[in-house]
């Protein structure tokens, strides 16, 4: 091999040699996960989003590239001349035959070795998907039992307890005593997270401590802790007090809070807001009922105004009258007919007697006939009167039943409306006004004003007080909703 040109068929192409070197570098364990410290130079951000730069020290230079996806996650703006710590793998850019560092994560140097370690761990956990937004769980709306994974004697637990107890008293709190600083801290936090979910039965975990130096907070950057937060079966809020960077525990948690107090605020709703919401729900329920009752009442009133119901016997008056008239006419007609028949018989009798004495004996027949006619007339008369009386009694009975049914029905509806009205009275804004409160309405649509956002300067409003209304105009608004409570 020492003789140049002697064995030309052994010559490799440039590509073959470059590929060989690349394979060597890619297989190397050290070069596949390497962290380098140096000064940034020749920094270029390409249109594509990739970053091209060199890292250098007193004696050497290293070509680097950071591809778009990783570049977007750097968390700082790299500048020429900046001291940085970069983490990635060394490979070969074949087109130029140049080896380069493919940077996966990078951070400003100055925080020393710890920072480099964090960057490495962050890159690794990120690659495993531990920080993905899609896997973060929603917190319970109204936590029943919250486990506080923190020191039982720290300021953090005191802040958490006071904020949560003030905002949402129904939540139960269980402090899981935890060492949050020093050598034992990671194992203690992992154990507490486990206990919080298993034996405490919490539906929300808040893990954290007050602020401190990077060394103080080191446990919250520990891989075991980050993995335990990731594996917790219920949502976890990370509540580590720190001013600048996010710790890894923050990044893996379902929600991160900048301080323990803030965690308390995020964990539970505010009791004052909930009370206001309950009031609004009550008003809406009462409003819906009042509207419905108003409808019912006006229908009932309309019904009551109809003659049948306001004087139930009215409907019987005309049948009675007709019955009476029919009776009178029947009796009169019968009397008339009987009279006519009788007088015709009498006339016939006289005529007969005058014509033929022989016929006299027939007169008794005529008399008998007349007596029969008169008897029949009086019997019919009695029968008609009886029938009229029976009809009247039936009408009376019907009238009595109708009256009773109508009274019962009206009574039932009034009872219902009265009891609903009593329920409503308890919520009647007018009673509140009597006690000295005032209600403010917009002139434009007569709506009750509940918020400064509902009016604008120059809007006409009227203020309803116990004995009348005051017309007014808005001169300005000022919101006071930034209060804690």
């Amino acid at each position: 091999m020492s003789e140049p040109g002697a064995r030309p068929r052994m010559a490799l192409t440039v590509s073959e040699l470059t590929a060989y070197v690349k394979r060597l570098l890619d297989r190397d364990e050290v070069l596949s996960q390497v962290t380098v410290r140096g000064e940034l130079s020749n920094f270029t951000r390409h249109r594509s989003g990739h970053l091209y730069f060199s890292l250098k020290d007193d004696a050497s230079q290293l070509s680097c590239v950071c591809f778009r996806g990783d570049a977007a996650r750097l968390g700082f703006e790299p500048e020429h001349g900046q001291q940085v710590i970069a983490h990635g793998n060394v490979s070969v850019y074949e087109a130029r035959g140049q080896y380069q560092l493919i940077v996966r994560a990078m951070m400003p140097d100055g925080e020393g070795a710890l920072a480099a370690q964090i960057a490495r761990l962050r890159a690794k956990l990120e690659a495993e998907g531990l920080f993905e937004a899609a896997r973060k769980r929603a917190l319970p709306r109204f936590p029943r039992r919250i486990a506080l994974v923190t020191s039982p004697t720290g300021a953090a637990v005191r802040d958490l307890v006071s904020v949560i107890a003030r905002r949402f008293p129904p939540a139960e709190l269980v402090v899981v005593p935890t060492v949050v600083q020093g050598e034992e801290a990671p194992a203690s936090i992992v154990r507490s997270l486990h206990l919080a979910a298993s034996v405490v039965g919490a539906d929300l975990i808040i893990a954290g401590r007050g602020g401190g130096s990077l060394e103080d907070l080191w446990a919250f950057y520990d891989e075991r802790v980050v993995r335990a937060v990731f594996a917790a079966p219920v949502p976890v809020i990370s509540a580590v007090g720190h001013e600048t960077d996010l710790c890894l525990c923050d990044e893996v948690a379902d929600l991160r809070a900048p301080t323990p107090s803030a965690a308390g605020e995020l964990a539970v709703p505010d009791v004052a807001e909930l009370r206001a919401r309950l009031d609004r729900l009550g008003e809406r329920a009462a409003g819906a009922l009042a509207q419905r009752l108003g409808l019912g009442r006006s229908r009932l009133e309309a019904m009551c105004a109809r003659p049948l119901l306001c004087r139930p016997t009215t409907m019987l008056e005309s049948p009675w009258q007709r019955l009476d008239e029919a009776g009178v006419r029947a009796v009169r007609a019968m009397d008339l007919a009987a009279e006519r028949l009788a007088s015709r018989l009498s006339a016939a009798a006289l005529t007969l007697r005058a014509f033929d004495p022989r016929l006299t004996r027939r007169l008794s027949f005529v008399d008998r006939q007349r007596a029969r006619v008169e008897g029949a007339a009086s019997r019919s008369r009695i029968a008609i009167v009886r029938r009229l009386e029976r009809g009247g009694a039936r009408l009376d009975a019907v009238g009595w039943r109708v009256t009773a049914a109508v009274d019962r029905q009206l009574g039932r509806h009034r009872g219902k409306i009265d009891s609903a009205a009593a329920s409503l009275r308890a919520l009647d804004p007018a009673r509140v006004v009597e006690r000295g409160w005032a209600l403010v309405f917009r002139d434009r649509d007569q709506r009750l004003v509940r918020s400064v956002d509902e009016v604008a300067p120059d809007d006409g409003i009227h203020v309803s007080v116990a004995d009348g209304e005051i017309a007014a105009r808005v001169t300005g608004t000022r919101s006071e909703t930034q209060d804690d409570d």
Binding site: G154, A171, V175, D216, R275, A286, L293
Partner: protein, 85 residues
């Protein structure tokens, strides 16, 4: 509305509030008979009272875990060390 017949006093805050919200929507929907409406209204008021009572509960129960079996004792806040931040 599955818990329609559950005793109001036994409901948790979330369940009670959700049922209350459901009833209000139902009442506002206007599809309910008057008799039933009164009944629902009364339940809504009871739920509202119950929620308000839960919110006014005098004190939050605060316990401290003492062993791995889940035993707890009342948590004595107050004795905090300044150095434990």
């Amino acid at each position: 509305m599955t818990e329609e017949n559950a005793k109001v006093e036994e409901l948790g805050f979330e369940a009670a509030l959700e049922e209350l919200e459901g009833i209000v929507a139902e009442l506002e929907g206007g599809q309910v008979e008057l008799d039933r409406m009164l009944e629902r209204f009364e339940r809504a008021m009871a739920l509202r009272r119950h929620c308000a009572a839960l919110l006014s509960a005098a004190e939050t129960k605060i316990q401290q875990l003492v062993d791995e079996e889940g035993t707890t004792e009342p948590f004595a806040a107050g004795d905090t060390d300044a150095d434990q931040a």
